[in-house]
Amino acid sequence: MNRSLQTLFVFALFTLGVLAADTPVTFESPADRERYDTLLEELRCLVCQNQSLSDSHAELAQDLRDQVYAMIMDGKDNAAIADFMVARYGDFVLYKPPVKSSTWLLWFGPLLMLVLALAVVAIFARGRIQDPQPLSDEERRRVQSLIKSDLGQRK
């Protein structure tokens, strides 16, 4: 897509998005409310530059918020709601990436790195005591002269 068309496309996304209705919603139980808040933070706004459904002003975000609300009122659980979104928008819509073979490195990598780092430190800590190499005569003489000159300065 060339640049100007891309800009027009983006513009089209935003012209309607600017003044989305922002009606507060009510829940029967605080648990539902918490689920709603958490889900909105974990779902991504598709048209924005990296914002969650919770933060976004875009109209599509409002539509999706309404959808999440409707599904919670309907008694659907979090997994069902996430699946609904993924079926339509792909994994991109989840801020918490699913754990599947292509994301193992992402989820387990930090733990692996942690273990690796601790192991490396343990190796370095263990093998660090070395017997100092004995000085040669020439070096011994140099040490003496350094000590003498240093003592002279200190006074």
């Binding site: 989305a20 919603v25 990296n50 969650s52 994994d91 930090p110 790195m113 780092a117």
Partner: protein
């Protein structure tokens, strides 16, 4: 005419930078002392030229010269003067010029404060900084010229993005850039040390003040950004793990590791190669950040609107500078002299652990930030990695770090024993657990485990720091006397660690115990949140210099007693036709109350968001403490004692000759 002068100054600066990059370097390696002496004047001339160019751009903004394309796109005649100044760095070209100005500024500073450095070493440092400058000036002049003319000129400009029309924009980017760019100084020192093959304890002593100074600016810059987002965006959030935020956080993490590793190298001569690698990597992350923000590779609210062509240039710059430095490292690293010895249980090992864990934390953030890109590049589809991932994984890495911080700051150099540590730390550990327990109960008893753990680690750092001070004061002198005469490096360290704990505690409490409500409220109505009463008095509209505002008037009460008036606003900026919210905040040491206006609803009522944010200010207070700690530590006279320098110089020459 004046913008053309600015453009010409930049071209001259590029020429000077080329000379600065080559002549002193050749002079230092070949021994031509007058070539070596070229470094300082070249750096100073370059700084003056870039400063002149920058001032012409500022002039163009202040005089509303809309024939300059950059001014036309980012300013407006109705824009208040202060924002016309900050609009200079409001978009890609201008902020890049600011970057270069700050780079030249740091180089200038190096030439001013180089008393204790051998001239050849200093010359190489300046040359390396010159190479970086050549790269960035080329990038600016060939792809991102801020002085391009717009013909025909616009009658009036496109205005600065309303999100940026705020005092925060005036200081946050310059502060952040001071930190970002400052990492180039430690980088240059590391390169100079590698080139000369003299990675020594003394070199570490030279680098340390620069590394700490950089770190201070980065700490403040990031904290400012977080605070700004909090009060400006209207959602009460203060960190989003956005790629650009991560791009500034990673150099900070590694910069912290660098400071601590330098301490070991400086005192004991150990970990030299690791310290050098940290210095290289910190700057590499800084360049990576520049790439991420300006190439369009990742989506971010912070990213500048730019194109992949520029991205290619920056990637080439990144590849060349860092690739070259890592080749140098691979070549010279093996021949570095081994440093001091230490036992398996010693302060050195704890500091090594600290470095390693901070490096893991940095790698974790890098992994999460770039994983979507790699995933897509490998054809595996598009995924998103956001706060739910980072919050979990990053916190998990931070916990062992804090644990070892507590033990480590208590441990002895070279040789310590687990028995001694255990004996001294058993009571603090119990005290920590008790304190965490009590705190969680006082805060309301919910979310006990997660909050308790987080608070516990924060308290652990505080208690062990205080204990370390007490142990230090036990000696022959009277404890109070010792307390007031502690070495600055130690005082700085304690304050910085306490600041870190303060931030952690703020993060934990604000994250777990915030309460918010989203309600419809009409003027005249009241509502309640967390024991506070919010009374929506009335609404008024007014016109600002370049916007039209609807302002709500809220009265905040507790138990009937009046506390404050909050005035959240909803603004519409004329030129870009863009709405903005300004939150109404009642700040406090232990809590913030926050009101933000949403949209007007059908019947005269408004959709209103209310937030109760306990301890949120501790997050930024902790950052200020960390910066103070760094500042105090920087001026420790032991870092620049001439007698020590002289002795070391002699010892170093003799050891280098071996």
């Amino acid at each position: 005419m004046i913008p053309e002068i600015g453009h010409f100054m930049l071209a001259l600066a590029l020429a000077v930078a080329c000379l600065q990059a080559v002549i002193p370097l050749v002079g230092a390696t070949r021994g031509y002392s007058n070539w070596v002496a070229f470094a300082s004047p070249a750096a100073r001339v370059q700084f003056l030229l870039v400063l002149a160019a920058f001032l012409t751009l500022v002039h163009a903004f202040l005089t509303n010269d809309f024939s300059v394309a950059y001014v036309a796109h980012n300013s407006n005649s109705a824009l208040p003067a202060a924002y016309r100044l900050s609009a200079v760095w409001g978009a890609h070209e201008g902020s890049l010029l600011l970057w270069i100005l700050i780079l030249c500024g740091w180089t200038f500073a190096v030439t001013v404060f180089d008393k204790g450095l051998p001239p050849k070493f200093a010359a190489i440092v300046v040359s390396v900084l010159g190479i970086v400058s050549v790269g960035f000036l080329s990038f600016l002049l060939f792809t991102s010229n801020p002085f391009d003319r717009l013909i025909p000129a616009l009658a009036d400009g496109g205005d600065l993005n309303p999100l940026l029309q705020d005092p925060g924009l005036i200081i946050h980017p310059p502060m952040l850039y001071l930190g970002y760019v400052g990492s180039s100084v430690a980088f240059a020192f590391a390169i100079a040390a590698l080139i000369q093959g003299r990675i020594t304890a003394q070199a570490a002593r030279w680098i340390r003040p620069w590394a700490i100074a950089t770190w201070i600016f980065l700490t403040l810059g990031i904290a400012l950004g977080s605070w700004w987002a909090y009060y400006e965006l209207g959602w009460g959030g203060w960190w989003f793990w956005d790629p650009v935020e991560n791009a500034s956080f990673m150099p900070w993490l590694l910069g912290t590791a660098l400071i601590h590793s330098l301490a070991v190298t400086e005192k004991r001569g150990s970990f030299k190669n690791w310290t050098v690698l940290l210095a290289l990597a910190t700057f590499a992350l800084s360049l990576l950040g520049t790439f991420l923000v300006r190439s369009g590779v990742l989506t971010s609210v912070h990213a500048f609107a730019t194109d992949p062509g520029r991205g290619v240039f920056v990637l080439a710059l990144l590849g060349g500078v860092i690739g070259g430095s890592l080749i140098l490292y691979a070549w010279r690293g093996p021949s570095t002299f081994a440093g001091g010895n230490y036992e398996p249980v010693s302060r050195e090992v704890f500091l090594l652990l600290n470095s390693a864990l901070l490096a893991v934390a940095t790698a974790t953030v890098l992994l999460g930030t770039l994983y979507p890109l790699a995933h897509e590049a490998l054809g595996l589809g598009k995924i998103s990695v956001g706060p739910p991932y980072f919050n979990v994984v990053f916190s998990a890495v931070m916990l062992p770090l804090m644990a070892f911080l507590g033990i480590g700051q208590f441990s002895r150099w070279k040789s310590d024993s687990l028995i001694r540590l255990r004996k001294n730390l058993v009571y603090p550990l119990s005290a920590t657990i008790a304190a965490a327990f009590v705190a969680v109960i006082m805060l309301g008893g919910q979310k006990t485990i997660a909050a308790g753990v987080g608070l516990g680690f924060g308290f652990w750092v505080v208690i062990t720091t205080l204990l370390g001070i007490r142990e230090r004061c036990q000696g022959r002198q009277h404890p109070w006397f010792t307390l007031f005469n502690l070495p600055r490096a130690f005082v700085g360290q304690c304050i910085a660690h306490l600041g870190f704990a303060c931030t952690v505690i703020g993060v934990v409490v604000a994250s777990f115990y915030s309460v918010d409500e989203h309600q419809r409220l009409a003027p005249g109505e009241s509502t309640e949140l967390a024991g506070y009463e919010f009374h929506f008095v009335n609404l008024r509209t007014y016109s600002g210099p370049n916007y039209r505002a609807t302002q709500g008037n809220f009265e905040l009460r507790r138990d009937g007693k009046f506390i404050a008036t909050l005035k959240p606003e909803k603004r519409l900026y004329h030129v870009r036709n863009m709405p903005m919210t300004e939150a109404g905040i009642s700040p406090g040491f232990t809590r913030d109350l926050y009101v933000s206006l949403g949209e007007p609803l059908d019947d005269g009522a408004w959709s209103v968001r209310l937030y109760f944010k306990p301890f949120v200010r501790w997050i930024w207070l902790g950052a200020i403490l960390m910066a103070c700690g760094g500042f105090i530590a920087m001026f420790d006279p032991r870092l620049r004692s001439p007698a020590v320098a002289r002795t070391e110089a002699v010892a170093d020459t003799s050891s280098a000759e071996r």
